[in-house]
């Protein structure tokens, strides 16, 4: 259904503004979309393990990105190493947060845990403002960003940054897939996501598994932040909008589906690029409204999302 709508709209768009402009908007939308998808993926990882949305996911990624920036700018590490350091610190910090602030709560008390994540969101924002201030900073890109660094597709520009971002997201998905399907932690994660009590009976440590998912989600979030920051500038609020789009993406994908998060991200990215691009009355400011609309519509009409689990558990 969503696909058909997009396709119909695309035909209109091509006729309206020409192929080149259309392709350019698709490229930009899809690139933003995979980043939303990546943050959505982090949300989904935590949601599957705990049944809770981590509202601090974006703020954690923001702090992680600042850490990577510090490692690059102050400590003089090569950018890629600095990003890895940022991811590692984020993972360790998230593991610590899970252990000290999340685990003490009854895991079935979702409301309490959700409120803790909201508090964390505020705390991280305050911390970042305190440490780094609100002046936006330019974050270096991992990829060549010169004016000539693009591939031309029917006149539209596919910058190496677009390609590189997509490549990194692909890499993350591949690694995650391998961890989930091959590693012991992956098996434990899938068990806990499916049936906590059965997992307990298999000797799986629920707390440590949830902790692992927090850590991995934080690292993925920080990487997404580092990939997004070169185009958005880095300040304590730069992940806020992205987090809202990621919510929309995760909701659209079905909240418990990793593939769904990515697909959802791309659909949200494309929708925003095309709607705000081709419907002048909407303008750039409608982007957030667009995400909001997606969330409401999905929850109303298809709560399980595009790829979410529909079947009820058998007893």
């Amino acid at each position: 259904m969503v696909g058909a709508l997009l396709a119909a709209f695309s035909v209109y768009a091509v006729i309206d503004g020409g192929l080149t402009l259309y392709l350019q908007r698709v490229i930009d939308g899809a690139t933003n979309g995979v980043l939303y998808g990546m943050v959505a993926l982090a949300l989904v990882l935590v949601f599957k393990a705990t049944g809770v949305i981590n509202f601090a996911q974006g703020a954690m990624a923001m702090v992680g990105t600042f850490l990577a920036f510090t490692a690059f700018d102050k400590w003089g590490l090569p950018l890629i190493v600095a990003i890895i350091v940022g991811m590692a610190i984020s993972a360790v910090a998230a593991a610590g947060i899970e252990r000290t602030l999340i685990r003490p709560f009854d895991p079935s008390n979702h409301l309490a845990i959700t409120i803790v994540t909201l508090a964390l969101y505020l705390a991280f924002n305050a911390l970042a403002a305190l440490l780094w201030g609100f002046d936006p900073r330019g974050f270096p890109s991992l990829f060549p960003t010169g004016s000539g660094d693009y591939l031309s597709i029917a006149g539209a520009r596919l910058y190496y940054t677009n390609l590189g971002t997509a490549l990194f997201v692909g890499l993350v998905v591949l690694v995650l897939h391998l961890v989930l399907s091959r590693a012991r932690l992956g098996l434990a994660f899938r068990c806990v996501a499916t049936n906590v009590e059965s997992s307990r009976l298999l000797g799986i440590h629920i707390g440590r598994t949830v902790q692992g998912s927090w850590a991995i989600a934080a690292a993925v979030g920080t990487l997404a932040g580092c990939l997004a920051a070169p185009t958005t500038y880095l300040d304590p609020t730069f992940m806020d909008k992205i987090l809202v789009y990621a919510f929309a993406a995760a909701t659209l994908g079905g909240l418990d589906s990793i593939a769904g998060a990515l697909v959802g991200g791309v659909v949200v990215g494309l929708s925003i690029a095309l709607l705000t691009g081709y419907i002048p009355v909407l303008g750039g400011q409608f982007a957030l409204g667009c995400a909001f609309f997606v969330i409401i519509a999905v929850l109303q009409f298809k709560p399980s999302g595009l790829l979410g689990r529909r079947t009820q558990d058998r007893v």
Partner: protein, 306 residues
């Protein structure tokens, strides 16, 4: 055979555990009242004391011949109370299971059978002594107890519905890191060819009977010394139940796995078991050898229906 080797490894483990029983004895001595009481007094004396504690209880515990042994049991519960929140659901249960022994637990709905099994594998808060392999497990977590050799097939089968059948079985061996996991997986596919056929379908798409096979394979994949089964026959066709019980009896005898079976199908369970307990309202009402229970007037009327 390699399978046997690791089996005896486990037994060695157990032996060394019981070597440390001296340590344990002194440990439980310091736990005060309960332990020292049962150590200093005869079994009967403490038995009658406990009955005195339950005034107004319509059933007094009857012990039929062939009842429990008290020394060297694999699992031993002494005056175990279980709680959901503040509500007490088990009111002082005594129960023993020997190595390789099959024990059946009967009782009406809500009698506390599931709670009893959940007490043993630490899914519910309890008071009282629970020892397994000579070690106190009353304060331990499920995580620890599973690693000591307890495994449970929960009521409702506990299928990991999103995981493939293969992953369900492998998840059963989660705590193992030895080299024979693969051999065990193949073993269970031999035992239940039906599962081999549906290897890569999701656990949730299996029929009830298939899920019960899966649950049994999963539970035994950890190579437990004690298997807890909560109503394995629930909702299954009689012929399937027969097959399942045959497999269970065979495998558990081969590997000398002790079993506690909660069953509504009392006739079948009593056939397989050496001893049994009848729970009523959170207490043990009757206990004794399986054939004695089968011939007991009240048990027959209440659970065998003739």
């Amino acid at each position: 055979m390699s399978e046997l080797a690791s089996e005896s490894m486990r037994q060695g483990e157990l032996a060394s555990e019981s070597m440390r029983q001296g340590e344990l004895a002194s440990e439980s001595m310091s736990q005060g009242e309960l332990a020292s009481e049962s150590m200093s007094q005869g079994e009967l004396a403490s038995e009658s004391m406990r009955q005195g504690e339950l005034p107004g209880e319509s059933v007094t515990q009857r012990e039929l011949p062939g009842g429990s042994r008290t020394h060297g049991a694999l699992l031993e519960l002494r005056d175990v109370h279980a709680y959901y929140g503040d509500v007490e659901c088990l009111h002082g249960i005594d129960l023993t299971v020997d190595q390789g022994e099959v024990v059946v637990v009967l009782g009406a709905n809500g009698a506390g059978k599931t709670t009893l099994l959940r007490s043993i594998c630490r899914l519910v808060r309890t008071k009282g002594d629970i020892t397994f392999g000579g070690k106190q497990i009353g304060g331990k977590s499920t995580y620890d107890v599973v690693r000591r050799g307890v495994s449970m097939v929960p009521q409702g089968r506990g299928t990991l519905v999103d995981l493939s059948v293969d992953d369900n079985i492998r998840a059963g061996g989660y705590i193992r890191r030895d080299k024979e996991v693969e051999a065990d997986v193949r073993y269970w596919y031999d035992v239940f060819p039906r599962l081999a056929e549906r290897k890569s379908t999701s656990g949730g798409s299996l029929s009830g009977g298939e899920q019960q096979m899966l649950a049994i394979a999963r539970a035994l994949m950890s190579r437990p010394t004690l298997l807890l089964l909560d109503e394995p026959s629930l909702g299954l066709a009689p012929i399937v139940v027969r097959q399942l019980f045959d497999v269970l009896a065979r495998v558990c005898a081969e590997r000398s796995v002790a079993m506690v079976v909660v069953e509504q199908n009392a006739a079948l369970a009593l056939d397989m078991a050496q001893r049994g307990y009848v729970l009523e309202a959170g207490t043990v009402a009757v206990t004794g050898a399986a054939d004695r229970l089968r011939n007991d007037e009240s048990v027959r009327r209440a659970y065998l229906g003739y």
